[in-house]
Amino acid sequence: MQEPAQIVVDHISHLYRPPRGREVLALDAVSLEVRQSEFIALLGPSGCGKSTLLYLIGGFLPVEKGEIRVDGKAVAGPGPDRGIVFQHFALFPWKTVRGNVLYGLERQGMPKPEREKRAMDFIELVGLHGFEDSYPSQLSGGMKQRAAIARTLAFDPKILLMDEPFGALDAQTRGLMQMELLRIWQSRPKTVIFVTHDVQEAVYLADRVAVMSARPGRIKTIVDTKFDKNDPDIFKNKFFVEKVDEIWNLVKDEAIKAQGTRSA
């Protein structure tokens, strides 16, 4: 922990105000530090505020109480230093894959030949070569998410915020996409904050797993899950199995609690 943290979440509390009904405390004095090039997973039952925390770091929601600093500067809004990938892709449906990937590069004022080349490079990186002129409506869920990842990686954010990116995909596609993401991350290390409710996914991908409690969201524990992820038999690996078991036990109580508060 000697290197200074790149992202500092400092006692963040957040009230969720639904259009109707009472306001809910979504996050309660959450603190978290993430180092550069670290892959951290935010794990918790649905409704624990893990996505809210991600949106706050992204600058999409206003910080009301506490402070979030990225590279020492307080977050005041969205910026291309923090790229986001959403569960439901959020691709521009009226643009082709290429058009989507180009959009961020155009906004940054990159000259045309350079951005065309860069867009194609990233389309290739995520394995969408040959689909650059397809519209999102013509792609499968996994391909849409590949396109969304290419779009975000292309404008080269220092930090990658991923909001249950594989949550809408079928099990096989999800497994493949996890391997792909790990491959991409290992070839171009970035700081990643990865929101998920899938324990195996979190242990497989992340260096550390922050387990969150049911509403109001707090960080319950942070579990170190750094080990060799390239082991072909990783899912039978003793360390992997133990970590999954340990974290599952931590999450289980919270998941039951979350169910309880929901039905109440």
Binding site: G58, P78, F86, A90, W94, Y103, R107, Y135, T152
Partner: protein, 283 residues
């Protein structure tokens, strides 16, 4: 596919192509006829009923007589003048409604003051029969084109405003966040993200405004007089010229159909990216 394989396939297609193409053509004709069967049946019933002497030609002129009248009007040039005038008024009213309605809808979505001002007007104005303003429009603007186009706009602008407001409200938060994330400014966000994302629903509003514009154009012409299909029908009616009245009905039906088809074509062109673009069309 290699070049050779491609060529072989092409040859095969030309060999088997001719009878297959004829078969497909025959099917398309049969289907095309089946789809318009009800219209053809209605027209045939009209002709038979008119010839059966159940009604006098004054009450119900035969379709053949009506078509002859349309033909002679076309030859004399009356049809072209009346159609052009009605179309000009309807389209001018439609275009002003489209541009104005989208602008007002956008302003209402983006600006609290604009919303505060326009929202009650839209709430009261949308469901009300705006044709009630016609006497006022006549008092203020007379009975010529300005008045006619104005009453069309008063009617057709409401569905465009309502569709635009609802469309912009419905734009996914994630799309806006993605654009912001990539560095879009407020202006860019509006033009490059919110408008295209809202376009399918705005188009639906425009598809409602188009027939409305034609309806009000014809009604205004009927009530205000002068040239135009509506005016010509009223004149014919005053002279007890029932063949010309029915000719007007047929002409308006054809124009309405063509305008709506044109809107559907424009929609498909503009929304080529939308899943619906791959869906089969209706007649």
């Amino acid at each position: 596919m290699t070049k050779d394989a491609q060529e072989t396939q092409e040859t095969r297609e030309t060999i088997h192509g001719v009878p297959e193409m004829l078969g497909r053509l025959a099917w398309r004709l049969i289907w095309g006829f089946a789809r318009i069967f009800s219209i053809v049946a209605l027209l045939a019933a009209w002709e038979i009923l008119a010839r059966s002497h159940t009604f006098t030609p004054f009450q119900l002129p035969a379709l053949s007589a009506v078509l002859e009248r349309i033909w002679s009007d076309a030859e004399s040039g009356d049809l072209a003048i009346n159609t052009a005038l009605t179309l000009y008024r309807a389209l001018a009213g439609f275009l002003i409604s489209a541009v104005g309605g989208i602008a007002i809808g956008m302003a209402m979505s983006r600006n609290a003051a604009a919303n505060w001002f326009f929202d009650p007007i839209v709430s009261v104005g949308f469901p009300m029969p705006k044709i009630a303003f016609l006497p006022v429009v006549i008092l203020w603007l007379g009975v010529y084109d300005t008045a006619k186009v104005t009453i069309i706009v008063v009617d057709a602008i409401f569905p465009v405003i309502a569709a635009t407001v609802i469309a912009i409200q419905g734009v996914e938060r994630e799309l806006i966040w993605s654009a912001r994330n990539m560095g879009a400014s407020n202006r860019q966000l509006l033009h490059q993200v919110i408008l295209p994302a809202a376009l399918p629903q705005i188009m639906t509003g425009l598809q409602v405004a188009m027939p409305l514009s034609l309806i009000v154009a014809v009604v205004a012409e009927m009530l205000m007089g002068g040239y135009g299909l509506g005016g010509a029908m009223m004149t014919a009616s005053r002279f007890a010229n029932s063949t010309s009245v029915f000719a007007g009905i047929v002409e308006i039906a054809v124009i309405g159909y063509v305008l709506i088809k044109a809107m559907t074509v424009i929609r498909r062109r503009l929304l080529i990216w939308h899943p619906e673009a791959n869906a089969p069309a209706t007649a």
